[in-house]
């Protein structure tokens, strides 16, 4: 179970985090797509801190002894999921950037050839 003071602290963190996220979105530093994920985190943190029985329910359903270890478990699980998500994104962006760099090189070659007044390559035939 969570003691009263921890509850207030948790709520404070939730509200603070929510405000930071909204401000980041307003300043266009954070995309709406990612802000939803993080708002989801703050909302579930708020729900867990306000609804006393919920954490205990989750604790019993996964067979954990301690509510705080349950909380840590959920936190680590979330971190892993979001890390995997970012790895996927980085791979995707890397592939897109590589393709763009290649197209840029190809276009520049074509442009330079045109500037020199050359036609398409003949293949030496």
């Amino acid at each position: 179970m969570i003691f009263a003071r921890y509850k207030e602290l948790a709520l404070l963190v939730c509200v603070g985090l929510t405000m930071i996220i909204l401000e980041l979105v307003r300043r266009k530093k954070l995309g709406v797509r990612y802000s939803l994920v993080w708002l989801g985190v703050t909302v579930s943190m708020g729900v867990i801190s306000l609804w006393d029985g919920l954490l205990d329910l989750i604790r019993r359903s996964i067979g954990a002894v301690n509510p705080s270890s349950t909380l840590f478990f959920l936190g680590i699980l979330f971190s892993l999921v979001i890390l995997l998500h970012f790895s996927i994104r980085i791979s995707e962006y890397s592939q897109q950037i590589r393709l763009l760099a290649k197209e840029l090189g190809l276009l520049r070659e074509r442009l330079e050839r045109r500037d020199r007044g050359e036609g398409p390559p003949s293949g030496g035939s």
Binding site: G105, L106, R108, G123, G124, S125
Partner: protein, 249 residues
């Protein structure tokens, strides 16, 4: 007929692809040798974001030059050349190292099977015949392992999967040009093509040691390389439709 008199059959257009990274010292000579020994071919240098004058030297030596804005690595440089060859309508492409290790006079030897329509990829192998090329044992171990894995996967014996002296048919050019998800085109590329019905052949080739400069492969990388390669095979093996199957096979 000596190899120097060799000409591709009428209607065939050959592109020599040279990926280059900081090769300003070697590339001028390499291009001159190709122009002298293979005058029937166009030469394309893909300057992989070099910090030296590679692009300038290559252009002055008479090659077409694509300059990549950032260093992408050799496989992406070759991939760029495949896209170029595909779009410009070349019927065959030959990959030659920019550092002068390969013999342009041997280009007809690896091109012949492609021109006769017998193969889609022809590897100029350093190990098929003993021609005095020496490889450090640390690198040779990984290469042998890799050659065996590749041979088993494509059902055909290949001895040199890491060699950069190869010829490709129009079909192979098209397959590689349209493939964007592959992170390596050497042995992995062979496995992809081999399993999709493309025909792979090997002929013996003479390979010299480098003119100047250091090879991009050091001791640590020579150990990591085979594992990295085996890892890149996983998506290929898990995904049957990695490239479209060879037409008419």
């Amino acid at each position: 007929m000596t190899p120097l008199d060799w000409k591709p059959p009428a209607g065939q257009r050959v592109l020599v692809m040279m990926p280059a990274y900081n090769e300003a010292l070697n590339i001028g000579h390499s291009i001159e040798t190709v122009r002298r020994d293979a005058p029937y071919a166009d030469i394309l240098v893909v300057d992989d974001g070099s910090l030296d004058a590679t692009a300038k030297v290559a252009s002055e030596a008479g090659a077409r030059v694509i300059t990549l804005p950032v260093n992408l690595g050799i496989f992406d440089a070759i991939h760029t050349a495949f896209i170029y060859a595909y779009r410009e309508g070349y019927t065959a492409a030959v990959q030659v190292d920019a550092d002068g290790q390969h013999q342009p006079s041997e280009i007809p030897v690896i091109l012949e099977p492609v021109m006769r329509g017998e193969a889609d990829v022809v590897i100029g192998s350093r190990y098929l015949e003993n021609r005095g090329y020496k490889t450090p044992l640390s690198r040779r171990m990984g290469m042998i392992l890799f050659a065996n894995v590749t041979s088993a996967l494509i059902g055909r014996r290949v001895t040199d999967t890491t060699c950069g002296f190869r010829a490709y048919s129009r079909e192979a050019i098209a397959a590689f040009a349209q493939e964007t998800g592959v992170e390596a085109l050497d042995a992995v590329g062979l496995v992809i093509l081999g399993r999709a019905g493309y025909r792979i052949a090997e002929v013996p080739a003479t390979v010299h040691t480098r003119l100047t400069g250091k090879s991009s492969i050091n001791l640590v990388r020579s150990f990591v390389y085979p594992f990295n390669g085996l890892l890149s095979l996983i998506p290929v093996l898990l995904n049957r439709k990695f490239v479209r199957r060879r037409p008419n096979s």
